[in-house]
């Protein structure tokens, strides 16, 4: 928004007269707009129909009533292009690894909805029995509050046709969802992308259990959380 900055500077000057000082304006950092657009896309794709559907009808309606003959081949070509674009878009949307890893989608859904945790507790001895009672396996649960990654609770998600435990941690203001399932239960394609729609994803296995951690923290922080959990698993 370079245009706005110039006029804002002028407004600052005028506004400064109020208190005799010009208050500093912070401009949004460069990548923020696109990160937000991605996040909005994700949310929008969740609630609305696929965008490709609305594209097709605009083609023929633009054609003049008494169109010269050369218009028709072009219109046909245009329709072919639209159809191709629509089908490509649809196909891309269906490509799990690329734009909507179901695990990332489920993390985002939990974030923007009111369903971050089913059981809210920082006590691993509360969360673990709660999860165990609702699953056919017993995921390891640990709190890392001393390492400033406190456990905030757990929830159950339905992923790839089965119930999966999700441990929810907080790091500063970021939420980290860690999906824990028996090794082999999650399709290999899930949680593979290092990054999807601004969220970072890391997947590891500690033998019996497979973990996928998803968050918008930076890569180093997410790696640290993963290694904390791996270290804890190695102790048992």
């Amino acid at each position: 928004m370079p245009d706005r900055k110039g006029s804002n500077a002028n407004e600052d000057q005028r506004a400064g007269a109020h208190s005799g000082v010009t208050l500093p304006r912070y401009a949004a950092p460069a990548g923020l707009a696109s990160r937000i657009t991605h996040a909005l896309d994700e949310e929008h794709a969740r609630v609305a129909e696929p965008p490709s559907i609305s594209v097709t009808p605009t083609g023929p309606s633009r054609t003049p009533r008494f169109a010269p003959t050369w218009v028709w081949p072009r219109a046909a070509l245009f329709l072919v292009c639209v159809a191709t674009a629509a089908s490509l878009g649809y196909w891309r949307g269906a490509d799990g690894a690329h734009s909507d890893d179901p695990l990332v989608a489920s993390h985002v859904r939990a974030l923007v909805g009111d369903h971050l945790v089913d059981v809210a507790s920082s006590d691993q001895h509360t969360v673990k029995p709660w999860l165990d009672a609702r699953l056919d396996y017993a995921p390891p649960v640990a709190d890392f509050a001393p390492d400033s990654v406190p456990l905030t609770g757990g929830r159950i998600e339905f992923v790839a046709g089965r119930r999966v435990a999700v441990l929810v941690y907080r790091l500063r203001l970021h939420v980290i969802s860690v999906y824990v399932a028996p090794t082999g239960a999650l399709p290999a394609s899930l949680g593979r992308g290092a990054e999807s729609l601004g969220y970072r994803v890391t997947r590891w296995t500690d033998g019996a259990m497979e973990h996928v951690a998803i968050s918008d923290v930076n890569a180093a922080d997410l790696a640290r959380v993963a290694s904390l959990m791996q270290a804890r698993a190695a102790m048992h």
Binding site: M1, K5, R14, R25, I36, T37, H38
Partner: protein
Amino acid sequence: MISTDPPFADRFLPHLDAAYNLARHLARDDALAEDIVQDAFLRALRHQRTFNGVNARAWLLTIVRRTFYTQWQQAQGEATHESFDDDLHGTARREDGPDAELDRTLARERIETALATLPAPYREVLVLREIEELSYDEIAGVIEAPLGTVMSRLSRARQRLQRALMAQDPEAPHA
């Protein structure tokens, strides 16, 4: 980028700078401000039906502000709340070298530092009024307080800012 709901993005993304500016002043931290703004946009999208269609910027700023307070309370836990009382403003002194020129950058830093010492309720009215130039009515809407409160708080905030600036450097004129 293309598939985002055009009315929503067209309406609110132009106010990204305003949103970030308020968040940054409230949070006093770059990364935190980004988190707040991103979160606020998602909330705005979810609740866009409650938007009355009149003032997109003020509505977005209301959400930014609420997001800040929600996240802030979560981060602080319930125990510590930055108390909003008259004795709070410290006199944080900048480490100026003896030869420091008061050029534009320094002046800006000086004001930033002074502003950051004010409690959040003062910072937000100053930012909304003097940078975003919202009307008193709009500010009342954003901070969800009566008009009288806006005016008295704004006037106290200005005095407080002046005092903070003077405490930093009694010699310099507050330009």
